[in-house]
């Protein structure tokens, strides 16, 4: 059992959720409630990683992270080492690739809060901040949990982008999914099966949680 790889995957998934969730909650809410020019474009960009082939995303990120781009050079000077093939690069790639998984459930959840309930909050004298805390979040929190669960599970399973951007550096970028790939090539069936079982287990738990909470979102806002 490749414990370092599993631990790396868990750390990567947790860090991705921690970094991505707050801005995703903000963005999901903005997309749910505000009309502004360019909103359609914003939604398309948010959804893009869903349909983009992982290798395309991986290639684009490799170009971005490399020393050929200004961004890559700047990042390398701050970090002291290139962004590609490093944990930081992996984390950044993971955050970008998971945007739709984090934003869309939140957006749906906020949008499910009936408009007149939000208006009632404003008319009752609640400032936008108080309305968010006392009315919107208590009704929309299942969507936020779903976003966290999906992002976590998706990061654990991410393969194509991780392999291209991170390679398979043990302890730094060899995630559980890649370690599984390596175990298979090393004819280590036992190691491969163990990793596969763990990854499958986590995915199932995430899916179960998502399922339970998605039903809650509907139920909570139904009785207005």
């Amino acid at each position: 059992m490749d414990w370092p790889a599993l631990r790396l995957s868990l750390v990567l998934a947790a860090a991705t959720v921690a970094l991505l969730l707050p801005p995703a909650v903000w963005l999901g809410r903005v997309l749910a409630y505000r009309r502004f020019p360019g909103r359609g474009l914003a939604e398309v960009l948010v959804a893009l990683p869903l349909v983009l082939p992982p290798t395309v995303a991986g290639y684009a990120l490799l170009l971005l992270f490399g020393t050929g781009s200004a961004f890559g050079r700047a990042a390398a000077s701050v970090l002291g080492h290139p962004l590609a093939f490093s944990f930081e690069g992996l984390l950044l790639a993971s955050v970008l690739v998971n945007v739709p998984f984090a934003v869309q459930p939140v957006q749906n959840s906020f949008a499910a809060v009936p408009r007149n309930v939000r208006e009632a909050a404003a008319v009752s004298g609640m400032s936008p901040w108080r309305a968010l805390l006392r009315v919107e979040l208590p009704l929309a929190w299942p969507g936020i949990v779903v976003a966290a669960a999906l992002t976590f599970a998706h990061t654990l399973g991410e393969f194509g982008v991780v392999l291209m951007v991170g390679g398979s550096i043990p302890g730094q970028t060899r995630t559980a999914a890649i370690a599984l790939y390596d175990r298979v090539q090393a004819f280590d069936d036992r190691g491969a099966v163990l990793l596969a079982a763990v990854l499958l287990g986590v995915s199932l738990v995430a899916l179960l949680l998502t399922n339970l909470l998605s039903r809650q979102v509907g139920r909570r806002t139904l009785h207005a």
């Binding site: 009632a120 008319v123 004298g125 936008p128 108080r130 006392r134 207005a224």
Partner: protein, 266 residues
């Protein structure tokens, strides 16, 4: 066109908008008075209420209430809804589904010190005859009860104007009678203007001190309900006042039918 003399503590509204719901009207309501807004669907009644509450911004307009200016497009003033002391009872109540009745009412008391809130909220629920229901969630309340919670919540913020959007349309007759009695009782106690949107002539006659008949965003006629009912300025007004269902097109009725209709109802 400004009229400072008539403003005082009451409500003074001027709204002009090109769409999607066209508006071109002026309304006044003194403290302690009930103004009924009557008209067909789409006439702009609900939109007018929403403009007063700050939920809708007209192309041009003026909303003054309780001595304060809430909206003045010419001067660039537009207070957000939570800064206007308007109490709005939504047509479908819009209670917070995750809160108890008591918590719903307390939600409107952000301006009071924490210690006083529960006590005052209980008092308001008592006022609307909901003693004992404080701990119930909206899902556990009947339509009439939910509406009374919504009313208590609207009153919770000590509003300068009370706005009611079709308060009786979704309940059955007996409940409606009870609610009308509640409102009649309450308006004597509240010294604020009350604007009531309805398409039912009964409510108008029973509760209102004045009625404004709206059609396509314009006030066709306003005055005491009995007078307007007896002397409609046009067949259209009579038709709008007497009808209980929305009209598909502004066809004027035959003069014969109009008189009979008005006589029957007045």
């Amino acid at each position: 066109m400004r009229d400072d003399a008539a403003a005082g503590d009451g409500l003074h509204v001027q709204l002009r908008s090109n769409g999607p719901v066209p508006l071109d009207l002026e309304l006044r309501c003194a403290p302690g008075q009930v103004l009924a807004l009557v008209g067909a669907s789409g006439a702009g009644k609900t939109t007018a209420l929403r403009c007063i509450a700050g939920l809708h911004r007209p192309g041009a307009g003026l909303v003054r209430c309780g001595g304060q200016t809430w909206l003045d497009t010419a001067a660039g003033i537009d207070l957000a809804p939570h800064r206007r002391a308007a109490g709005l009872v939504f047509q479908d109540y819009a209670l917070f589904p995750h809160m108890t009745a008591l918590a719903n009412v307390i939600a409107g008391m952000g301006h009071l010190p924490r210690r006083e809130r529960a006590k005052r909220a209980c008092g308001l629920l008592s006022l609307v005859r909901l003693d004992g229901m404080e701990g119930r969630r909206p899902a556990e309340l009947s339509g009439g009860q939910q509406q009374r919670v919504a009313l208590a919540r609207a009153l919770a913020r000590d509003p300068a104007v009370l706005l009611l959007d079709e308060p009786f349309s979704a309940v059955d007759r007996p409940t409606r009678r009870a609610l009308q009695a509640d409102l009649a009782r309450l308006r004597r106690q509240l010294a604020i203007p009350v604007v009531l949107v309805t398409h039912d002539l009964d409510d108008t006659l029973l509760l209102a001190d004045a009625v404004a008949v709206l059609d396509a965003g314009q006030v066709l006629q306003h005055g005491p309900p009995a007078e307007v009912a007896r002397h409609p300025v046009s067949p259209r007004v009579a038709w709008l006042l007497g009808t209980e269902a929305p009209s598909p097109a502004p066809f004027p009725m035959q003069p014969q039918q109009t008189r009979q209709h008005a006589r029957g109802r007045a």
